[in-house]
Subunit: 348 residues, 2 copies
């Protein structure tokens, strides 16, 4: 992938997004910084994040997930509207880890958000899985910080499905909504499998449909059950901090008419108050940044390892040994020896 | 995942598979070693591979891939039969990276290979994506070495599809067959996208069907085209060594009747002679082991990084700094400081 950028150019974009005053130029600079991070990964992000980090920590980050057909996009749009009406600045990232298609705001976004598309306090951006350097979850974390420095009050991360990459993405959210409309049969199973741990609020969208109350009842039963089991808090297993004392409320909404969206926002507010009052907010942030750091370290270590193995001349001697198939020349033993080169090159 | 094993037990399995004489007991020990690698990842593999590595390097590894419905399994069965009839010892690993279901020989395997299932020179095993430590491609590499030490003459790795994990798996093969039967519309596109680089022989299976000759012609046209473009040999991009001078033959087969399977085997033999005569075999093996080493180093480095970030007490001070959102306390800058702890702990 060819990257067209210079440090000066990056600097000019950073200067622009730091400005208090919103403008089309500022929005464009934001879009370009995001594209740079999407294409250049942690290599580029490390030129950007340190310069803007002191401007971050303000935005409230809301994660929204749900299967295709759950009305997730329409509901996101409604939520964004409400925050905009409150005079807040709202940014939306629509992440689709299953799509190989890329960035920029997609046509679909423009259409569904057309009411607000020209609102200077509103920004929307799609991100998809294009084999990003460092991964999509990592790029999303970086982008969230850029949006935070851009003075967003609310950052909504909307994503499809229940995979590991979504769960990774939601580690960055303050409050995560999981949408499970009536009639999507297997949904409940899917929630059990992984989303339970990241859900702060359940949303039964399309509440006008048959089965909405049944779905609410199912979720409540599941929550009763969940309260009585112990979730192992094994941090290396990358689980999200569990907030004891917070039982995810189940809110029925209608994303099309906007019914109950204010109720949903009230619950989001309650959840954030809960996080602040109990101090769980800090645990979540600690957890978030530990994972962020692990990903950064991983990225650069792996990059260095690849550089050594694929470019260091000495490696060929080691490979020669391996090809002899002699005792002691197996890839595991030889890797130990290469680790020494690694140490000499990067740690001495 | 609970692992039931002791070093003594591993040792007894290793001793068994080293025996020259084939037996049910030896086969069972092999199956258990594979299960241990599947469940325990590189942690366990590093106890096994160094002990058997001097017995490896003999087996010829054949990769077979094709979309579901391509008749891949039936053809694999035919190929295995032919090698068994030649008095060779044949092992098959059926890898399905898209399936979350697991290991052991699946019922399907038993059925389709029932003719040979009790043959002491035949072994078959399924591997699926169960979130293996170190990844499925890595586990497959380890397992190939165990099968090699088990004195397999031929190891067939059969896998579905065209994803990156399949491409990683085929880096281990001497000869890779790509099956594209007539009538699977988008197949050609998929091949263009990634498999081209790993294909040594194209197989148009189900040759009795309409469109077989058309498919052969399409592939030949594609190969004409490919000969005239330059593939960048960027090793860090994890491409497979390109063998100039070898144009993948296109072989029509009928996996059900076995028609042309001997012709296919002849071509496999030709390909392996080509690799040996030109010296490309050595380049492929160098490439294979470089990737193997990168994966081993990655696995252990990442494991150590996670250990530091999630268990080292000092980390909390760094996280505290990050949460201050001060200049210089961003995750990228702090990661640099943590790298120092990493150095002190593992490299001094």
């Amino acid at each position: 992938m060819q990257m067209q950028y210079s440090d000066d150019l990056i600097q000019s974009y950073i200067d622009l997004i730091k400005q208090k005053e919103d403008s089309v130029k500022k929005k464009r600079a934001l879009a370009r910084l995001i594209t740079l991070i999407e294409n250049g990964g942690p290599e580029i992000a490390q030129k950007i994040i340190p310069q803007i980090y002191n401007l971050t920590g303000h935005a409230k980050i809301i994660g929204i997930t749900g299967a295709p057909g759950s009305g997730k996009s329409t509901l996101t749009s409604q939520i964004a509207d409400h925050y905009l009406e409150q005079g807040l600045k709202v940014s939306v990232i629509a992440v689709d880890p299953t799509s190989p298609f890329s960035g920029g705001a997609l046509l679909g976004d423009r259409i569904r958000m057309k009411k607000n598309f020209t609102n200077p306090r509103f920004f929307i951006r799609s991100m998809a899985n294009r084999g990003q350097l460092g991964g999509l979850a990592m790029a999303t974390k970086d982008v969230i910080h850029v949006l935070d420095a851009y003075h967003s009050d609310i950052i909504i991360i909307e994503t499809v499905g229940v995979g590991q990459s979504e769960i990774d993405i939601f580690k960055s959210a303050h409050t995560t909504l999981v949408i499970t409309p009536p009639g999507l049969g297997d949904e409940i199973q899917a929630i059990k499998a992984g989303l339970m741990e990241i859900t702060d609020i359940f949303v039964v969208n399309k509440m006008d449909r048959d089965g909405a109350d049944k779905r609410v009842a199912e979720l409540q039963t599941m929550l009763d059950f969940a309260e009585n089991i112990e979730i192992k808090n094994d941090q290396t297993q990358a689980k999200v901090v569990r907030c004891d004392g917070w039982r995810p409320p189940v809110i029925k909404t209608n994303g099309v008419t906007g019914e109950n969206v204010p109720l949903l926002l009230e619950n989001i507010k309650k959840h954030q108050e809960f996080l602040n009052q109990t101090g769980f907010i800090k645990k979540r942030l600690q957890f978030r940044y530990k994972h962020y750091i692990v990903e950064i370290l991983k990225y650069f270590l792996v990059k260095n390892v690849e550089e050594i193995v694929f470019t260091n001349e000495k490696i060929n001697e080691f490979i020669e040994k391996i090809l002899s198939h002699e005792q002691g020349a197996d890839p595991y033993s030889i890797s130990g020896a290469i680790m020494e080169i690694f140490r000499d090159r990067y740690f001495s």
